[in-house]
């Protein structure tokens, strides 16, 4: 097996909420509750689940936008050629680390500054990290625009985001992300706002760039059909926990966890003759099984690197 780029162990992100007079009633929301996974170099992992299951919170914790509240995140350090915990980084190292980890957001209409030109937008990360001379930076911008298929670059440099279509804007987001030559890119539903016709070309672009630039993705989506196209492995998330994780085709052909079955059977199939039967599942029941089983929180390997949460695997296998 190839080397891991990132290893996440028991990642936790809890939010304190308070209600009542003067906020006297305190409660904790366990948005991400002890999830573990690893991503080898050049591979991509899909994180799928319904709205509110903690996918985006995981992304924000990994990209250090929101500090995690527990668990370990280890990242491969190219200088020392070993895994390094992100907690041990000092300020200088942290800035370097941030270069290697980038994020593409869901909404190409709101993630680009409307008052900046495309050139300014893509140049900004280079300026922040003080990379190269101004001339080199401008050349890099032209180069990256070609890479993401916005040609000829001269036509795009002086334009503003509102002059571009949704697909072109998302290409600009990808260009801004890749100009730092990151090793790890977190994609939060990058194609869900796009039209069917451009969706595939953006996904193909990302797949090709992953191959050429050796980038690993954490690809967040609620659509398993999209995840199947993009990812080597898929992790299924339910209420802040990963319930099943396996190689993509293995997961789709041989789902074990009832929630995975439910999710797969909910996807419409583009074939009118196909008779889709939805796997029936009572969420409250599943919720209470998970809540009761506080001891049994691990995952077991059922073969082929296919891991299933242990809480109610009994009786289902």
């Amino acid at each position: 097996m190839s080397k891991n780029l990132i290893e996440v162990t028991n990642l936790e992100k809890y939010f304190e909420i308070s209600s009542g007079m003067f906020g006297r009633n305190k409660a904790t929301v366990k948005a991400v509750d002890g999830i573990s996974f690893s991503i080898p170099f050049g591979e991509s992992l899909g994180l799928v689940g319904q709205s509110g299951c903690g996918k985006t919170t995981t992304a924000r914790a990994l990209s250090l936008l929101d500090p995690k509240t527990g668990g370990d995140v280890n990242f491969y350090n190219q200088e020392t050629e070993s895994m390094q915990s992100i907690d041990e980084l000092d300020d200088v190292e942290l800035k370097k680390f941030r270069r290697n980890i980038q994020m593409i957001f869901q909404d190409p209409y709101e993630s680009l500054n409307p008052r900046w030109t495309i050139k300014d937008i893509i140049l900004e990360p280079l300026n922040i990290h003080n990379i190269g001379e101004l001339k080199d930076r401008e050349e890099a911008v032209v180069e990256i625009l070609k890479t993401v298929g916005l040609t000829p670059p001269e036509n795009y440099l002086p334009r503003y985001p509102h002059e571009l279509s949704g697909g072109q804007r998302q290409r600009v987001s990808i260009a801004r992300t890749l100009i730092m030559k990151p090793k790890f890119v977190i994609c939060d539903e990058p194609t869900s706002m796009l039209d069917v016709s451009i969706r595939i070309s953006i996904m193909d672009l990302m797949l090709n760039l992953a191959k050429d630039l050796e980038v690993s993705y954490l690809y967040i989506t609620h659509d398993l059909a999209v995840a199947r196209y993009m990812c080597n492995r898929i992790a299924v998330m339910f209420n802040g926990k990963i319930v099943e994780i396996a190689e993509t085709e293995e997961l789709l052909k041989n789902p074990i966890h009832p929630y995975t079955k439910r999710l797969i059977s909910s996807i419409p199939v583009p074939d009118p003759t196909y008779d889709r039967v939805v796997y029936d599942l009572d969420y409250d029941e599943l919720d209470s099984i998970i809540a009761k089983d506080t001891e049994n929180i691990g995952m077991i390997d059922i073969g082929n690197e296919h891991f299933v949460a242990t809480h109610d695997v009994k009786g289902l296998l």
Binding site: Q50, S197, S201, D271
Partner: protein, 324 residues
């Protein structure tokens, strides 16, 4: 032969803008039988929603219907006065809007907003009758009766969407238009809403027009469908036929660009380029610039366009049919 509820004939609609006329709907014809569900599919800006708005006569002020007719139950809706239209809207034809999350007035209880619509169309009903009606509508779409006393912000996205469906059904319409009713929802909720729409449609024998860009949803929801491109219908017919033997190059590309979780993993094809600008309508095949293998003939702007019947009930644009 079953009964035709809605018949749209050679509908042409354009928007008058400062840059010229935008032909949003060009020579669109289709008809819908009682109890049938009809799908309208295409990418953004192809004219799907413009068709829906024309059916309700709710188009924007700068939109002009230059020719064509929309006949609902023997009555032509084009050219009716605002007062006559009020009777038809909701009563004859109603719509589940795209942004249903924002379709509610935030300061009025959900039930009251539905009551308002019923009162307008059935002024003689007593208050109790209306309450019973709303309760039974909510039950039909899988909501609890007590939901009618709640404010929109107290409901989740899926619940709001269910309530919008109840609202669309409130005046016993003959035709319901569903304009991308599940786009903002995640897959599991989408699946529940689709089931609900299907159930209600079968129960009430409604005619449904389902508008979506997602061809997988169209496959599951509709009996017949039409594919729109740049304001025209380029292919229409029974959904099964179109999926098994698509005749238009655009339909084929749409089908090949949709990922699925079932079956072998296949390489998807991307649809490069963008739809043409509809300002000052161009003659000839509008799809030829994006067509994967256009002939010299296709690029010629004098090529005749228009649907021809390729097999019983299945129509496709003659340009693409003759291409092969």
């Amino acid at each position: 032969m079953s009964q035709i509820v809605l018949k749209v004939d050679n509908l042409n609609m354009h928007y008058e803008t400062s840059e010229g006329n935008v032909t949003a709907v060009k020579d669109v014809s289709f008809s819908i039988n009682k109890g049938e569900s009809f799908g309208l599919v295409g990418e953004s800006g192809c004219g799907k929603t413009s068709v829906a708005m024309s059916l309700l006569q709710l188009q924007a002020d700068n939109a002009k219907i230059s020719s064509g007719s929309i006949v609902l139950d023997g009555q032509d809706l084009v050219g009716l006065s605002e007062n006559e239209l009020r009777k038809v809207r909701w009563d004859g034809i109603s719509i589940v809007f795209q942004g249903a999350m924002n379709a509610w007035n935030p300061v009025v209880k959900v039930g009251e907003q539905i009551r308002e619509a019923i009162r307008e169309h059935y002024p003689n009903n007593s208050k109790l009758e209306n309450t019973d009606k709303i309760a039974s509508l909510f039950e039909m779409v899988g909501l609890e009766k007590s939901t009618m006393d709640r404010f929109p912000h107290e409901l989740s996205g899926g619940m709001k969407q269910r309530a919008v469906i109840a609202l669309a059904l409130s005046c016993d319409p003959k035709v319901v238009i569903a304009d991308e009713p599940t786009t903002a929802l995640d897959v599991v909720i989408q699946d529940q809403i689709l089931k609900e729409i299907k159930k209600v449609q079968e129960l009430l024998g409604l005619s449904l027009i389902y508008i979506s860009h997602d061809i997988a949803v169209i496959a599951e929801m509709t009996d017949n469908m039409a594919v729109m491109y740049a304001g025209r219908i380029v292919e229409k017919g029974p959904t099964n036929k179109i999926f098994s033997s698509p005749k238009h190059a655009y339909t084929r590309l749409l089908l090949e660009s949709t990922p699925s979780v079932v079956g072998e993993k296949k390489k998807l094809r991307s649809l490069d380029g963008e739809p043409p600008s509809l300002i000052d309508y161009v003659e000839g095949c509008t799809f030829s610039p994006r067509c994967p293998d256009p002939t010299e003939e296709c690029k010629n702007s004098s090529i005749p366009m228009g649907l021809i019947e390729v097999e019983p009930g299945h129509f496709a644009d003659q340009c693409c049919v003759n291409c092969k």
